[in-house]
Subunit: 346 residues, 5 copies
């Protein structure tokens, strides 16, 4: 495929929904279900414009928008290729940020992932999501009510708010996984079985996936914060530093989880070995006690003819043969038990 | 949540207690249970002021204090969010340091953690703790008695003393964990069981947690020491270098503990396998000796009619049948024992 | 061997095939089965020339070409030594890039590797492949149809297209391995056996090999992109940045695979141990129930003479001896079952 | 504790012994059992003065010496705190180096450690040891006999000689541990048991400890060698480079040992598993051969009344019953042996 | 030992053999068995002089040579101490390079190592080997025949040729080890036993050793190549870059081998566990089938007196008692087999 060839590789269901939000310190306007034309008109208008696009499968529309806002063909290609590694591209006219929005499905114990692209320009922000979601709703509310400094600040502050709301959501994902880890840990100690091994493997995969999403984010926000682009103003930097710290905290926690999980399978093996040891001890105790006794019973069950010779099993005709044999058996059994008690097997 | 929105996430019990300490080379004054207003009055007063706040749940008060001392809303947010990663923020007017104060509960064999925030300004230090504690008492005593150079030095030296007392306490935590490691090591060799596995897993978690608290500290103190802020004077740097060395030593010890613990579970597995081997040998020796003998006894317990044919179990009617069989059995048993002796299983 | 001594170490079968492609914005000419002389003539001609050589065993020809285009003897040696580590050599007149073209053989579940050398000069590109392949066909098509900007751009853009097509193919290899990993994971949980261990070991080897090919690539493209040579123009840099991102993504995925595979063998061991535990439990349950019962049966199979003394096995002559013994046996058996039920072995 | 508070934490037994050595190219004088006053007098005297103090528990004396030679209170604190991490402090007037002197106790297979502090000034060296030792004797001899360039060189060369003699001793420690590793390796292959696991764990601890002592040393000597202080003259640098190389070699060897030891416990586990496999095979062979045979014997030991019906155990009254059963038993036994032979269990 | 004290620690057998080779573009002269005096005479003579010394135990001779060519005493010490870590010392008048020449003994499956020192001066190269070897023969031949550019180039090019021939030999060592790894891998899958564990451990040790020799080499050649000394001319740099690439390739392969070997012991453990599982299944199947049957046979072997009461073993006198019991036994046995078949144990 030539570079810049536009193909959308993700899910094609659902309707593409476009919303345009304009605001400045005094005014705030939203157009839901806007057309691409309306979006294009906003370019260069005063105030800040936030264009949000849910659903990426109308490739031609997105190409048009890209052309109008002067996006490089490779940027548009990256917006559509939803298996992108998180990254930031700093161009002259705009900054392109792509990363994953994660949500944790408590039922399936799975991380759902969706690619989010943010294009930050002089006075506009364009966001691209694969599906309609509600993570940006809090930002929308703040814009509407004018709470916080969001209406007084520029497009860079809006971009920060959007990134921040995604990163904040990571903590929820971490919490969900943390709870699962604790559940598996309890299982591990109480009742380790095949299911536990599967859960550990599953958790490991989730953490590997999470790590892949989170590590690049640190670099991305670091780049924005270091002031490599004039599109991010100095007063926004302190906020980005805050998200950066959150990202580092997320990474720290992911690494902590990895450490915990990596030891679990060894602990499972140790616990299972311990149990097998217990099982083996039970078997050995039964065998060691009854096998010699059964042998003795077998001996006196032999049919040698006692009448042929007094050497042939004289015990059988002895007066106290049976009680004597029982006593011997009891002594052997009790002796064995004592030996095992001393060995601490019982 | 918008950035700078103030929510306290920690424990809400207990009373908020505020104390204000003013001192210079000649004077020393403490007001326990001070009001926020008294704190605010101290701003810009001569000498050094140390405001210590135990308990963070009166959010409005802390916001007021923050506003008065010119703290950035994000700083106040971080003071209240007690699940912060340790960090230092160097601002123009003040330095904000947040890290964990750890204590080791010998009984529960657990690390207790509490977040401590230190705001270092031109001539004041504000400390925020979640609960009333006694780690800063030594510093208070030194201030009172004027021992050491603490009264002659500025606010930065006071901040150093406070950090130093927290880091010194880490050594106690390390000592506690070190003793637990030795206990588990003894168990591991003498009597490895399920409990040992749990203890190892528990120790591992503690060390992971400790590590998360300690690693960032190195960076924090390194930043302060490198003179990135004029609020830390050159003469204090040599003391910070000393705390820095202590932090490195703490990290070294934590890593040593990690190394030790990471090998333990393998050793447990090896010891358990060794033991199972012993159990299996006992079982096999009993089985190998008595199963053939029982078979022989079984053969001569068969009821073939010796009167029908001389081929049918002539041994039973033989004069020396029984002693011969016993002799054979004894020989087989003794032979087996010799074989196992040679194999070094006995 | 002296440096610069030319020896081809690879496969010697097949015909050497040389094709020369000239193009500028207006014209496009291909000569298949060109002679070396024709290649040489193109040096310094206007437009861009792409010489592609499939098969490296006519050493003299390649030496001649090298001499004509001013390649350093060590470069020619590297072209012929097909066990080269991927690298880039930036010389004054040309850039020499060598790396591996990988394809995944779904049947044999094996990675096939072929060394590709690219020499990028002022207005020419020379590519050397070991065998005829079809990975460059897409680039050929684009040149022919003039699609994309390839015809308007220089030799560096052509080199980029060639590198890009190889890196794109890596994703297919990754996909193939990813599918194999999933297959083995299913096996691991459902039915772990000796075959599974072999598959895991095999996958591990593949990933190690892949890693060896991919890691150096990052450095190579990074060097080209950083503008260390005037042969790569600034406008091509943004495209190389794109390939660079792809390479990082490939490396990320390889590392993810490594992480997954490295845990698999532990999981296999844990699952096998779990199963052995099950087997042992079955054995122990059978043994613990029937061994005591068989012993009791053995006791009443002893032949003590009941007529000699009333102490000798009076049970045998008792009216309810047999049912009583059966009842005792049943009680013991049922008791054992209950014990094992309580221990959760059943 | 306030910084600079002097407390000695080590062993308090033994006598403090102070020796003062003065030398220049022509003269050499030693005073054994010198008083602190004599030491102090040497400050600023011509020639080089080496004050060696064995035993640190007379804190007041050491404080006095420190004050006289202008040591920072934190330096004196570090001299007395014998659980210091190895480090170098470069001050204006002196360089403070602290590190561990290790000796290997062949009997107890233990590393003995003692902290050594070296203070290097303009024309003096002060060394502090916890106990009287003999590692510096070689340096004393060289000073006395004037062998080598030691008498012609300055205090920095003396400091180098002292560091060098300590580092040289590390090689002896490594040799001791290397021999222990080989011993354990032999055990591991020949006769792995519980003792072997303990030895491996012990070796691991020793190496972890060694590592902690050795790694910082590299940094220390590196700092001295890079000429960060005028107290180390350029002509001494080449010698420090040599010690630096030795330190790197020590670190390399320690890492090699770590690598070797880290694999040992896995090998132990594998060997034990192999052995258990052997034990299990023996058990299974015995069980598989004799259990069916014993069953057959049991069948013909049943007491069904052959006179009631010809269906009841007609074999017992058959002429060839017994030999036939024996033949069947023999065939089954031999068949089993063949099967196991084919399975390569025998 | 004082620094610069000369002691040879290696093998003392064999004769010291000295050869001196002079050459320039036109002339080429060799003196085998030269005396040290002849060597010394060559200093400062026109053309390039290569002095090769096989055998290091005539310490005085080497000291003399060192003194004449102005080598630092520490350099001479390093030449004689044959347990040196590979390194390069760049001095004003000469460059001292020391590294290991490795050969692989196919029989013993062992790496033989010999220390090689190269002293590169303005127009001379001195090489020191412990034993007579043939690795430098190819260079000698090239000098003699004047093939390649070696005769036209300076002493630095000669040094490069010598280093190159040693590094080329590393590939042979790698090949040998690679073949051993494949052998062990085959064993691992087909027939894992105690021997396999030993082989893996042995391979691990070899790789650790190899690594220790190879890693420093990269740094050494890197230093030479970066032009830190005027003794290495710019035109030689491109050749050193080539050796550098080879070294990186060697390191890559060593790391790959390490990765492969590190997983082997786990695979061995998994395979052994798998096998034990098989053994256990065989045992359990035999036990589970025959133990209940033997118990039934035991029951009907009891000697309860059927004449006393009709409750006492009426089965024995029943007409179809025996066939019924046999049928029951057969049913139980067949049932067990079916159960195990369903469990996939058969």
């Amino acid at each position: 495929m030539p570079p810049g060839e536009l193909v959308y590789v993700g899910d094609e269901s659902g309707v593409v929904s476009v919303s345009v939000t304009d605001y400045d310190e005094r005014e705030y306007r939203v157009r839901v279900s806007a057309t691409m034309e309306e979006c294009v008109l906003r370019k260069g208008a005063p105030g800040v414009t936030w264009i949000n696009i849910d659903g990426l499968h109308e490739v031609a529309q997105i190409e048009k928008l890209g052309a109008c806002f002067g996006l490089h063909p490779l940027t548009v290609e990256d917006i559509l290729n939803t298996e992108q590694r998180p990254k930031v591209d700093i161009n002259e006219d705009y900054v392109y940020i792509v990363f994953n929005m994660l949500t944790y499905d408590e039922q399936a114990k799975e991380i759902d992932s969706e690619q989010v692209s943010i294009v930050l320009g002089e006075n506009y922000v364009i966001t691209f999501q694969e599906r309609k979601g509600d993570i940006f709703d809090a930002v929308r509310d703040r814009l509407k009510t004018g709470k916080g400094s969001v209406r007084r600040s520029g497009a860079d502050y809006l971009a920060y708010c959007l990134i921040d709301s995604v990163v904040d959501n990571y903590f929820k994902v971490l919490e969900g996984i943390g709870e699962d880890i604790e559940e598996v840990e309890d299982d591990l100690m109480a009742n380790p079985d095949k299911q536990t091994v599967q859960s550990i493997h599953f958790l490991k995969r989730e953490t590997i996936y999470l790590r892949k999403s989170v590590w690049p984010l640190r670099e991305i926000i670091g780049k924005l914060e270091r002031g490599e682009t004039p599109l991010v103003r100095a007063e926004t930097t302190v906020y980005l530093r805050d998200v950066y710290d959150h990202t580092v905290q997320v990474i720290d926690t992911v690494e902590t989880y990895r450490d915990l999980i990596s030891g679990m399978i060894d602990i499972h093996l140790s616990t299972v070995s311990n149990r097998m040891n217990e099982v083996m001890k039970v078997l050995t105790i039964f065998a060691a006690i009854f096998i010699p006794l059964t042998f003795i019973a077998g001996v006196y069950g032999m049919n040698f003819d006692t009448s042929v010779s007094p050497l042939n099993m004289p015990e059988l005709n002895s007066r106290y043969g049976y009680p004597a044999v029982l006593a011997v058996m009891f002594t052997i059994g009790a002796g064995m038990l004592l030996v095992f008690k001393k060995k601490k097997w019982l």
